[in-house]
């Protein structure tokens, strides 16, 4: 989360604080603002923070918060387009579907980053990642293989990589 990702140990401290504060915020959302509940909220947020650090160690790389936000802000709009797309196909009497699986080669290395990208893909209109082939290309199930799916995915990938701090230098 921190801007200086060079030294992971130094970056980890503000990252941990940010996580702790986010969990505390979530606690506040769950239970309401009454300060008395902090008795349980502080240890709960600390425990959640510890679990999160164990399962998801601080990244050694820089994240661009603004670019990540740009990806997240697009989600509701994408969700709308995706839903309209499905609704149009489902409700039309002719049911226009040309389903098929497209292989999409991604530069995102396997691991958490790619898994996050796949989760994002599954929320995009008309695409659903269903696995990977032997060469590590993503297999994307599409409602309509005639659409320029790979082009659209490449655009999304570029946006996503700007968020994880790798977009600018490839």
């Amino acid at each position: 989360m921190a801007a200086s990702g060079r030294s992971t140990t130094r970056a980890a401290v503000p990252g941990t604080v940010v996580r702790f504060l986010l969990f505390l915020l979530l606690w506040g959302i769950l239970i309401g603002p009454a300060p008395a509940n902090l008795v349980a909220g502080l240890p709960a947020a600390a425990l959640a923070c510890w679990v999160s650090l164990w399962l998801l160690p601080p990244f050694g790389q820089t994240l661009s918060l603004s670019a990540l936000l740009a990806v997240l802000v697009r989600l509701p709009g994408q969700s709308l387009i995706a839903g309209l797309d499905v609704a149009r196909r489902a409700l039309s009497p002719a049911m226009p579907l040309r389903p098929g699986i497209v292989a999409y080669r991604t530069d995102i290395p396997p691991g958490l980053e790619r898994d996050a990208f796949r989760a994002l893909m599954s929320l995009q209109p008309g695409t659903l990642p269903v696995g990977e082939d032997a060469d590590g290309a993503l297999l994307i199930h599409c409602l309509d293989v005639d659409q320029p799916v790979t082009h659209q995915l490449a655009l999304e990938e570029a946006r996503f990589r700007r968020g994880t701090g790798k977009g600018s230098h490839g």
């Binding site: 769950l30 709960a44 999160s52 998801l56």
Partner: protein, 311 residues
């Protein structure tokens, strides 16, 4: 309008319940049972029993599916021949189930008029305990003995599960819960969701004192998160002989019993609380119980030891 909603709910529940029985494939039956659990949660919500609805959402949505589908996977090698029980046994089981069902229906359909209720008595004495959720007050103050025995039963159940292990493996690790095929999606979920789940689980426990929620709901959510981590292979099931683990299993019931015994000296008798201190004592017992429930449920799904203990 509300009659129509009730009819729809009854129809859906009956569909799911009948299909659970009729489905030929065991896994199909489990899926129908999961659906039934979700529907029951909605029914409890409709009946304004929010505590029960929460329990059903947590147990039905999280735990039942895991327990039963794991059982399916374990049963397959045992029943590979696929022989159905004989006709006579089938008929006998059917008749017995029908009798039990009819008795239950008779009891439920013929309540005395007006239905007996202790609700006004509970409402009249709420202030003595200092909590605002009547369900928690009943569970941990007026009927504390039932609640205590319920938790002890859980411990006994776990001992029963553990006892299935061959002598050689006693104290060892349960079989891994790892998914048959590793999945990046599962790993992603298991890295992101558990911290949020831990927070929500604790919230359900803490909130249970004054609002719907409580130990069982929170404990189940915590157990589900732990199981998710184990299934994604981010952590192995612990050795069943580990002392720390066994302490966690025992801490809830033990604290409950200790508080109960202390009642002899400090209040009117077993499981009665000293006046003025009911709330903090109940909250402490709830926290310890939630911890124990989470660990016990997780260990029950993990199953008996399947490996020799490490040297």
């Amino acid at each position: 309008m509300s009659l129509a909603v009730d009819l729809v709910m009854v129809l859906l529940i009956l569909t799911a319940a009948v299909w659970t029985i009729l489905a030929r494939d065991r896994r199909d039956a489990v899926i129908a049972f999961i659906v039934l659990g979700l529907l029951l949660s909605l029914v409890w919500m409709r009946l304004l029993a929010v505590d029960v609805a929460l329990t059903e959402a947590a147990v039905g949505g999280g735990a039942t599916g895991l327990v039963l589908l794991r059982a399916c996977a374990r049963l397959l090698p045992v029943e590979a021949d696929g022989a159905l029980p004989g006709l006579r046994l089938q008929v006998a089981v059917g008749v017995l189930c029908a009798v039990v069902g009819a008795c239950l229906a008779a009891v439920i359909l013929s309540p005395p008029e007006p239905a007996p209720s202790l609700a006004p008595a509970v409402a009249a004495h709420m202030e003595d305990v200092g909590l605002k959720n009547p369900v928690t007050v009943v569970l941990l103050a007026y009927r504390a003995l039932d609640t205590l025995l319920e938790k002890v039963v859980l411990v006994l159940g776990l001992i029963g599960v553990w006892a299935l292990a061959p002598d050689l493996f006693w104290g060892g690790r349960p079989a891994s819960l790892r998914a048959a095929v590793p999945s990046g999606t599962l790993t992603f979920l298991a890295r992101v969701l558990p911290p949020i789940g831990v927070l929500i689980g604790i919230y359900l426990v803490w909130n249970g004192a004054d609002h719907p929620g409580g130990t069982f709901q929170g404990g189940t959510v915590l157990a589900a998160m732990w199981l998710l981590v184990m299934m994604a292979d981010l952590g192995d099931p612990p050795e069943t002989r580990a002392l720390r683990l066994r302490r966690l299993v025992a801490v809830g019931p033990a604290l409950f019993i200790a508080v109960g015994l202390a009642g002899f000296g400090m209040a009117d008798g077993f499981l009665s609380y000293p006046p003025g201190y009911a709330k903090p004592i109940i909250v402490a017992v709830e926290v310890a119980l939630a911890l124990s429930i989470a660990v016990i449920l997780g260990l029950m799904v993990a199953g008996p030891a399947a490996k020799e203990p490490d040297q």
